[in-house]
Amino acid sequence: MSVNNTRPITPELVAEHGLNEEEYQRIVELTEREPTFTELGIWSAMWNEHCSYKSSKKWLKTLPTEGPQVVYGPGENAGVVDIGDGDVVVFKMESHNHPSFIEPYQGAATGVGGILRDVFTMGARPIAAMNALRFGEPDHPKTKHLVSGVVSGVGGYGNSFGVPTVGGEVNFHPRYNGNILVNAFAAGLAKADSIYISKAEGIGLPVVYLGAKTGRDGVGGATMASAEFDDSIEEKRPTVQVGDPFTEKCLLEACLELMATGAVIAIQDMGAAGLTCSAVEMGARGDLGVRLNLDDVPVREENMTAYEMMLSESQERMLMVLRPEKEAEAKAIFVKWNLDFAIVGETTDDLRFSIHHQGEEVANLPIKELGDEAPEYDRPWVEPGTHSPQEPHVFAPPDDYSAALLHLIGSPDLCSRRWVWEQYDTLIQGNTLQLPGGDAGVVRVEGHDTKALAFSSDVTPRYVEADAYEGGKQAVAECYRNLVATGAKPLASTDNLNFGNPEKPEIMGTFVAAIRGIGEACLALDMPIVSGNVSLYNETNGEAILPTPTIGGVGLIDDWNSMARIGSADAGDVLFLVGTEATHLSQSIYQREILGEETGPAPEVDLQMERARGEFVLAAIRSGYASACHDISDGGIAIALAEMCMASGEGATCDLAITYPHAALFGEDQARYIVAVDDEWANMFAANSEGSGVSFERIGTVGGDKLIINDLVDISVEDLKTAHESWFPNFMGQQQFADAAE
């Protein structure tokens, strides 16, 4: 079981470490000799896709990452954005896809744990979490088990840790049958003048290990996370990482206390390839060497080798460079919280990463090269093909519009996610202003009378599949819209780019085009990307997932008293459509659910129009005209109206301008909102819309107990609710029993 450092380096061993021949040659060159076994492990950990971004770096560099609001962009543990009054919001999103497929509860739980750690490593107290989940088709034999495990894992960790989960996504599609996606987002609040980063400074300073003990958890995990799945996955199972949210909560409190003492020079959480990545990062960033003595690393298993300690992915651990004069004070804090605190090394001036174990130097590598000279690939890619537009008349209309709407509102992708989010603590911390179920989750800024932050996570993978460039734009645009719909000014975003095997030019082409779309949209909508994560090789038996670049957005509400909600419309309010009649049915939920097809182009996003309408809606909400607001996305205006009715418990009577009824009701044209306006303000609102040049239409009034749209739809709100609320519990009903033993 334990492997000796003298294990000979064979071509097979190199390949097992996910390194190709060329990469290995480069390693020998940089090591200036054949690496030892431990060194090979270290190189492979630093150079795998997950840590090095070797396939994606070239393209990530093209994303807009700056703006006056951005304090720290990509490169740190999380992005940092100024929200005024000396406060900053710190956030990031990260995937835990492969581990969650293997062990859904622990995989999802440790995914949540990892992202929370990224946020509090920077000195921020986590205040909100989201989770973007994609599962295979509902009927696939594994789906229920995965949904059940992932949801309870997300909740199990976040609830115990004590962060409100205020949003997320759940989608089902056969292309995720063998490779689910679990993207976890966390945001924290900090003071602008007490942010901590990983760059070490000073020579001969103690390097301190904090938190939980090291076991053999996930040894080789980072390598696995970047490897394509095949049917032998069952055998390849490494030791699964088990999350301990209790220890993480103690670690949070201990770290924040520690930071307040001024003892911390640099700090870095141990994520993928734990000790290796964190130590190299601190040293390489600070132009320092690091010398570690593994005999001092707290371990929970016997006879751990240097290789295992360096690659272990045990959770709830941190590495820090400490001000030596503060050692006693710092240690006392960790003793109080019953966590490990051990000096395991020091910073040096030789730019070497030197590892000692049992009296032997088991690794001695150039630290800058480890950190910065990972191979960077310009992978071949082909421009994705496009689809020609399809006019509405090529799509069959439904026999019965009411029945179609009921069917859609109760379909797997559009039904209520209450079953999911009621398993998450959405209220803890006492600051939640908007729960899941609306457009964005909203949380008060503690210590401030009126400010709040809004959070949304979005992407429509079927659009990205149809047109990666437009789909990339759309993901950002929808996120922007969801924030705006609450009255938040979008501030910045994070991304989690989930794709298949980048060595396939078509996949790489999708990746490149999606990034181009995302970049353009972020620029146009002023939502710079401040952090993110790339997850490639999401394939099983050669079939890739739908390209899924998840966007997590954060917006600022100046005064939550004038915020809008999806369900705050009152009887008598006038309903306005901001935007124009829909015509785009290609790739719509209508097409998929009613016609059983997914064809044609994605809807186009006009970024100028998106911004103009968004700013108009935002101004209307902020000046108090809008009593309720909702963006129009999946399923079109009929779904959006139904969602508003269900949320407010009011009916509505609408008379839409209609050319093609099915397209008008279910078309998924972009940049559109529904705004409910108190009757008294309706004329004012209309005048303002005209003045600002934004297209709008007065479409109806709120009231009654039915949703009526022209002579097409006539359904009671009660029936809508029943259809909307029942799919998920019915689907999962049996599974609750099946996972009882866990």
Binding site: G156, G162, F246, K249, E422, Y424, L427, Q736
Partner: protein
């Protein structure tokens, strides 16, 4: 009037509780740590919600055996008011300060949502600002809130008027026997409840039904002090 909030590692609604007491009572509560062997002089001791010690072994079990609990017990014996919410309720049953125990929710999952409560016994310093039989809103957020007591204990609890709150008919979220959401000890100075009144005390929370619980206990104590 002096309130003390006891903190345990893994508690996470302590901050919510501190905020509620501060906002409603006008002054911040004193804080105690699980290893303390003595408590500051207090009129009200609060055991907050969360996952003390991760809720490992059994919810609240390890916390119930912390050194500070001896001081809590001594204070309760002297008649000091003790309020345990959620994890605090679990600790109080584990410590034997309240009857019964809290088992895994019947649906087996964690559940966070608003429920409807009936104020059952309102002749008590914790609940006197509610009307008997009044229906109030209150959020729950727990994994182990399924109240259980053997038949004899349950009868005693019912007969002595120790039921403080019940989940209103048809809204029992966790399978609790007799829809019990909160119970007093026989003397009436210790209250444990699963729902979180501290999370529904201001307009930002979308309602204030939880507020009167704090107003009751803090108000009564003020009067006594006067």
């Amino acid at each position: 009037m002096k309130a003390t909030v006891v903190q345990f590692p893994g508690c996470n609604r302590d901050r919510d509780m501190i905020a509620a007491i501060t906002k409603i009572g006008g002054i911040a509560p004193q804080l105690a740590w699980h290893t303390d062997t003595e408590l500051p002089e207090s009129d009200l001791i609060v055991l907050p919600g969360g996952f003390s010690h991760g809720d490992y072994l059994r919810a609240g079990a390890i916390a119930a055996r912390a050194p500070v609990m001896n001081a809590v017990r001594a204070a309760a014996d002297k008649g000091v008011r003790v309020l345990g919410v959620c994890n605090g309720f679990q600790m109080l049953t584990e410590a034997g300060l309240l009857p019964g125990s809290l088992m895994r929710n019947s649906g087996l999952t964690f559940i966070c949502k608003e429920v409807i409560l009936e104020a059952v016994n309102t002749k008590n310093m914790f609940t006197e600002r509610y009307n008997k039989g009044e229906i109030i809103r209150c959020p729950v957020a727990h994994h182990d809130g399924n109240y259980f007591a053997d038949a004899k204990t349950l009868n005693q609890v019912e007969d002595n008027g120790q039921v403080a709150f019940r989940y209103a008919e048809g809204t029992n979220p966790n399978g609790s026997l007799n829809d019990i959401a909160g119970v007093f000890n026989a003397e009436g100075n210790v209250l444990g409840m699963m729902p979180h009144p501290e999370n529904l005390i201001e307009s930002a929370h979308g309602g204030e039904d939880g507020r009167r619980l704090f107003e009751s206990v803090l108000g009564v104590l003020e009067r006594e002090a006067a």
